[in-house]
Structures are given as structure tokens and as C-alpha cells.
């Protein structure tokens, strides 16, 4: 957090245009107001920023490299490809950037108990990690479907001393885990801090998470100038809730850079089994925010699908909805198969096994690269590493790539 948001958004009501806001039961208002007041104070407080920067460097391992992808670049013979290596963060994804910031807020509020939702388990692990480091009680809500497909992360959370609550309502994925975390927070708001894992939920969470994640884009900006002496032409990131993408895009919003967010098309946009909220969703009020959401004709939230548990969410951060409407960011989607293939390609060309979430951003290179020129630069945010997805990838390889 070298420099905080130069961007004027959100406004004082937490809105990004018409999106965002604070659509929650009255019981949570006090806690959100308290959090907002604290955050507005500490975001310019030298001591807070110094403490966070120290943790980012000496605990999280920042800065993460910006790696030139030489063989992948040669493969396409077009623009130069660089990879931002969030997979090298402690715990294996960008998620710790945010949990380190939020745990410092929780500490300043004197909260003793931490709760969080998780999809792929990366945010659960990142939350359990900071709770272990700061000696706070940690409880994680996780959908039963995700518990099955991300078993290793469940063991990691338990190893770190967290309690994992299986959630059996609805589609038993990230959306339902988030509902359950919010219900728990409503009941225990006096002593509990809710660490939200993405740029979603009621104000001020989308702003706080974006600001803590903006370290990704800030570093990338300096690194590409060091390496190439100029701005990139394109910046790509995957979008589920959208925290790694917001963190990457934020620094470039006011620069002449094409920003592309890649959503999960699952089995294909036409199949109905996907989670491309910005591509096919409609405006909704959901989990405390106004934003694009996949819903049916009666305004009931859809059960969505992606092979990647971290993208498997029917909504998206409200700032992304704003950036879509204003056409500042282009939102596209790739299928499960494209992402799985990209994960294998990146492993074989660059020796980097990406998380299936991040593989969605990598997969879009297939569409983008033919349109680029040799004097252009493309940066892809590799938001996490793929060890957690090995089972899924191996099954796919046995099935399709014999």
C-alpha cells in the first residue's frame, strides 16, 4: 500500500456509479460504519502503512516478480508476454495481500474472533494464516461442494488451527458460504470481524479489498517501467469476485492501457453452466451490494458453475460493474476446457503451474495474441499457483490428452 487510491470512487455512500452501496440488515450498519471510519483514518496513517508494508515484505514475500515469458512469447511470435507472479506470495495466491491488511484492522478494533467465507479455499487459508500469526480465533465457512473439490486446502486450514464449517444450503459453493458468514456476523457482530475475501459485499469492503490488493498493480507498474521503460499495451486478469483483477487494474485505470477481465464460461456460455456475471448477468441487489448478478426471471439468484472453485460465484464486485458500463474494462470469458489447457501449456512452456482461476486469464492469450503486434506488451496476472488443482487437472489430462 505505497499509495492509496487516487481514484475518486467510491463516493461517500460507497457507490461506483449506481453500483455498490450498503444493502444489509440494520444489525450490521454499526459495524460497517465503525470499519469505514477506522479505514478512512488508517489509510493515510504512516504507522499503519509501515506495519502493513513490513508484513508484505518480510512475511508475504513481496514484491513478487514480473517474469518475462520467453518461450510463450516465441510460441505466438507477437507481443511480449510478462507474468505477474502472485503465485509466489506466501500461501500461494494474492489472497494474503488482503488478509494481512484486514487483520490489522481487526486488531485495531479489538475484535477477538475472525470469520471468513472461502470458495477455492485460498482465502480461507490466507485468513487462517494471519489468524495464526496474530493469535486470533478463526472460523471459516465453506460450501460442501468446494470442500470436496479443494480437500487439500481444508486440511491446510485445519493445520493452521482454523475451524471449518461446512455449508450445505443452496449450491453449496462460495455464494452460500458467504450467506452463512454474513448470518454468523449478524449474530456475533460485537466481538467478530468478518474478513471478506474479494471486492464484494457492502461498503466499505469492495474499497478496502481493492486498496489492499492494489499492491499488485503498483508493483507491476514500476516493474514494467524498469524492464521496458514504458506502459504495457494490455493487462489481463481473471474475474470471479474480482479482487486480483481490481488490484491489478487499479493502478492502470487512468493510463492508456487496455484492461481485460476474463470470466469463467464453464461448459460454455450457451450451456447455462457458467459464472460469467458481467457477460450475461443483470443488475441486482445481492449480498449487500448492487452489481451484475446471474439471476432468473423472478430475481432469484442462479446456481452457477465453473471447474474453478474460486470463480464459481454468481455476482461480481460492484466496481467491475461500473467499469463494464463505462467500457473502461473489456470483459470476456473462456471455458473450463480452455482454462485447463492453458494451465498445462503454461506449465510446459514456462515451468509455472497456475491456479485454475489464473489459467482463465492465461487462456485468453489464445484469442488476444493473434491480434497483437511484436512491439506491444501483454501482462497477465498469475493470481495463484495450481498445486491445489492437481487432481482436477490430472483427471482432465487423462480424459482428453491421453
Amino acid at each position: 500500500m505505497e499509495s492509496i487510491a487516487k481514484c475518486a470512487l467510491p463516493d461517500t455512500k460507497g457507490k461506483y456509479g449506481k453500483y455498490g452501496g450498503r444493502y444489509v440488515p440494520e444489525t450490521l450498519i454499526n459495524a460497517l460504519e465503525e470499519l469505514e471510519a477506522l479505514y478512512n483514518k488508517v489509510k493515510t496513517d504512516g504507522k499503519f502503512i509501515a506495519e502493513l508494508n513490513d508484513l508484505q515484505k518480510n512475511y508475504n514475500g513481496r514484491e513478487t516478480p514480473l517474469t518475462f515469458a520467453e518461450r510463450l512469447t516465441k510460441r505466438y511470435g507477437k507481443a511480449k508476454i510478462y507474468l505477474k507472479r502472485e503465485d509466489l506470495c506466501h500461501t500461494g495466491a494474492h489472497k494474503l495481500n488482503n488478509t494481512l491488511g484486514q487483520i490489522l484492522l481487526a486488531k485495531r478494533l479489538g475484535k477477538k474472533r475472525i470469520i471468513a467465507e472461502t470458495g477455492a479455499g485460498q482465502h480461507g487459508v490466507a485468513t487462517a494464516t494471519v489468524c495464526a500469526k496474530f493469535g486470533l480465533k478463526c472460523e471459516i465457512f465453506m460450501g460442501e461442494t468446494d470442500i470436496e473439490r479443494q480437500e487439500m486446502n481444508v486440511y491446510r486450514m485445519k493445520m493452521l488451527g482454523a475451524k471449518v464449517w461446512p455449508v450445505s444450503s443452496g449450491s453449496r459453493t462460495l455464494k452460500d458460504a458467504t450467506n452463512e458468514a454474513i448470518r454468523d456476523w449478524v449474530a456475533n457482530v460485537k466481538d467478530t470481524f468478518y474478513i471478506i475475501g474479494s471486492v464484494v459485499g457492502p461498503h466499505p469492503y469492495p474499497q478496502i479489498v481493492r486498496d489492499f490488493q492494489s499492491v499488485i498493480g503498483n508493483e507491476t507498474y514500476s516493474q514494467i517501467f524498469r524492464a521496458e521503460g514504458r506502459l504495457p499495451t494490455y493487462v489481463l486478469a481473471c474475474v470471479g469476485g474480482g479482487s486480483n483483477a481490481m488490484g491489478m487494474f487499479h493502478r492502470f485505470i487512468n493510463e492508456d492501457v487496455k484492461l481485460i477481465g476474463v470470466e469463467a464460461a464453464g461448459l460454455g456460455i450457451e450451456s447455462g453452466k457458467h459464472c460469467a456475471s458481467l457477460t450475461l448477468g443483470k443488475e441486482a441487489i445481492f449480498q449487500g451490494m448492487r452489481t451484475y448478478v446471474l439471476q432468473d426471471e423472478d430475481g432469484q439468484i442462479n446456481e452457477v458453475y465453473s471447474v474453478s472453485a474460486g470463480l464459481d460465484y454468481p455476482g461480481v464486485g460492484p466496481e467491475h460493474s461500473f467499469l463494464k458500463d463505462t467500457q473502461r474494462v473489456e470483459y470476456v470469458s473462456v471455458t473450463d476446457d480452455e482454462a485447463l489447457k492453458a494451465a498445462i501449456d503454461l506449465s510446459r512452456y514456462e515451468g509455472i503451474l497456475p491456479a485454475l482461476e489464473s489459467a482463465h486469464a492465461v487462456a485468453y492469450l489464445e484469442h488476444l495474441m493473434p491480434e497483437t503486434r511484436e512491439d506491444e506488451i501483454v501482462i497477465v496476472n498469475v493470481s495463484g499457483r495450481g498445486d491445489k488443482d492437481l487432481n482436477t487437472i490430472i483427471m482432465f489430462m487423462e480424459d482428453k490428452l491421453k
Partner: protein, 264 residues
């Protein structure tokens, strides 16, 4: 007769108003209107008609489940409004619609307020539209429906006053930290906070809801309010309802609740 007038008339008889929350179309779509009318005939003064939603954040497991069943029964806003007209054609008691913001947003707010008023609904409660979002969300209501805003015993004085200012019909005081569902008792701290809240509510009647499940809990909280709201406790009994059978047991239960409202 409007909502606040109706509650006032009940209070003038030295009684607290009893409002019963039912999830529309639960448990059976075809007999729901009769179920609701039987609850009103047994002594409930108001009916809160729940519009089902896939992701009910403020609700505990009982109402969540009823909402899920109602959605499986294909209940949507259109069917809720049909129930409303049917019920209002047979009773003069108020019907207040209660639901989450998204189905209403999706239906079209202006159309919703106007169709609901045409169907005879008296008011609307949307727990995930707090006072901060009132102006924007209810802009097209233009007085068609009474709007009920929520407070908690731990809301700031400023917010309680604002909720009173924006509400019409009554102010809904949430009794506890937590989602809807049964609790055994209210702490002294809570009762004190509720008493303070009531002093600050000048313009409206105050009804208390969340966690009120029995005649005993009504007796403990009645001195601090103008009426009580019971939801999960009755929905739980409705689970056991099997096509008409069991309705008399629910009627008896509502009678007991109403009797507790008459002892203050």
C-alpha cells in the same frame, strides 16, 4: 383503514397487536390463502406476507427452508400479489409484504408498488434496504404503500430517529443480534435498550420481532412495545401441516399468542 390506525385501535382495547409472518405459498401453494385467513381469524391482527428469496440473509434456518419450499412451489411476486387480493377480499385486517430487495428490483419497483397497492397490500418491509438507501429505493413508491423501516436496540439515536421519520405504519424493532428464529429469553440489557428505543420513536407505533416464539416471550416483551411479530415459531408448526390437517392446532397456538398480547 390504514396500518397505524389499525394498530392504534388494537392498542386502545388495552391489547398489543399480534403480527404473524408467513412465507407466501408455504407449505402448500393451493391452500395458502386459507391458511393465512385461518391465522387471522384465530386472533392475529396483521399478516406479514413473505416474498420468497433464494438468499435470505437475515433469516435463520426455519424461514430459509420455508423460502426454499415456496420457490420449489414456483411462488413469485405475481403469486404473492394474487394471495394478497384473495386474502384482502375476505378480511379488513392489514397485510404487509415482506421480502428482500432483489426480487422487487427485478420485478420493477414502480410496478411493484403500484401492483401491490392495487392488490390491497397496506405496507412493505424490505430488511436489506436500510435507511441510507431509502430515498433511492422507494422513490417511485410515492405513498402507495406504507414503508416500515427497521431498528435494533443497538442502533444509534440518530438512526432510530431517522427510521421513525421515514417509516409509515410502524417501526420494526429487531429484538436481538442475529437472524430470525427462536430464542428462549431476552437479556436485561436488551430490554433496557428496547425501552430507550421506544422513547425515541415519536411518530410511529413500534412492533418488536425476531426471536419471539411463545406466550411467555410475548409477556416479557409486551410492556415495551405496541405489538409483536411472530414468524419462525409458526412456520415451524406449519412444517408439520399436512394438507388441512393440523390447521386447528396452529389456530390454537395463534389464540394463545393473542391471549398473551391481551394481558398487559
Amino acid at each position: 383503514m390504514n396500518l397505524s390506525q389499525y394498530i392504534d385501535d388494537v392498542n386502545k382495547k388495552e391489547e398489543k397487536a399480534l403480527s404473524v409472518f408467513l412465507t407466501a405459498g408455504f407449505p402448500f401453494k393451493d391452500i395458502f390463502a386459507d391458511t393465512a385467513l385461518s391465522v387471522l381469524d384465530s386472533g392475529a391482527d396483521l399478516l406479514e406476507l413473505g416474498i420468497p428469496f433464494s438468499d435470505p440473509l437475515a433469516d435463520g434456518p426455519v424461514i430459509q427452508h420455508s423460502s426454499q419450499v415456496a420457490l420449489e412451489n414456483k411462488v413469485n411476486i405475481k403469486s404473492v400479489l394474487e394471495y394478497t387480493s384473495k386474502i384482502k377480499s375476505k378480511t379488513s385486517k392489514p397485510v404487509v409484504l415482506m421480502g428482500y430487495a432483489n426480487p422487487v428490483l427485478n420485478y420493477g419497483r414502480e410496478k411493484f408498488f403500484s401492483d401491490a397497492a392495487d392488490a390491497g397490500a397496506d405496507g412493505v418491509i424490505i430488511p436489506d434496504v436500510p435507511i441510507d438507501e431509502y430515498d433511492e429505493f422507494y422513490e417511485s413508491n410515492r405513498g402507495l404503500l406504507d414503508t416500515v423501516m427497521l431498528t435494533t436496540p443497538f442502533s444509534s439515536a440518530e438512526r432510530i430517529r431517522k427510521a421513525d421519520e421515514l417509516s409509515r405504519g410502524f417501526v420494526y424493532c429487531v429484538s436481538i443480534y442475529g437472524t430470525t428464529g427462536q430464542r428462549t429469553s431476552f437479556s436485561k440489557e436488551t430490554l433496557q435498550a428496547i425501552e430507550e428505543t421506544r422513547k425515541m420513536i415519536k411518530k410511529n407505533k413500534m412492533m418488536i420481532g425476531f426471536g419471539i416464539s411463545s406466550p411467555e416471550s410475548i409477556r416479557s416483551i409486551a410492556p415495551f412495545c405496541d405489538g409483536v411479530i411472530v414468524g419462525s415459531a409458526i412456520i415451524k408448526k406449519l412444517f408439520e401441516l399436512d394438507k388441512g390437517k393440523g390447521l386447528s392446532e396452529i389456530a390454537d397456538y395463534v389464540k394463545d399468542l393473542k391471549e398473551a398480547c391481551m394481558e398487559g
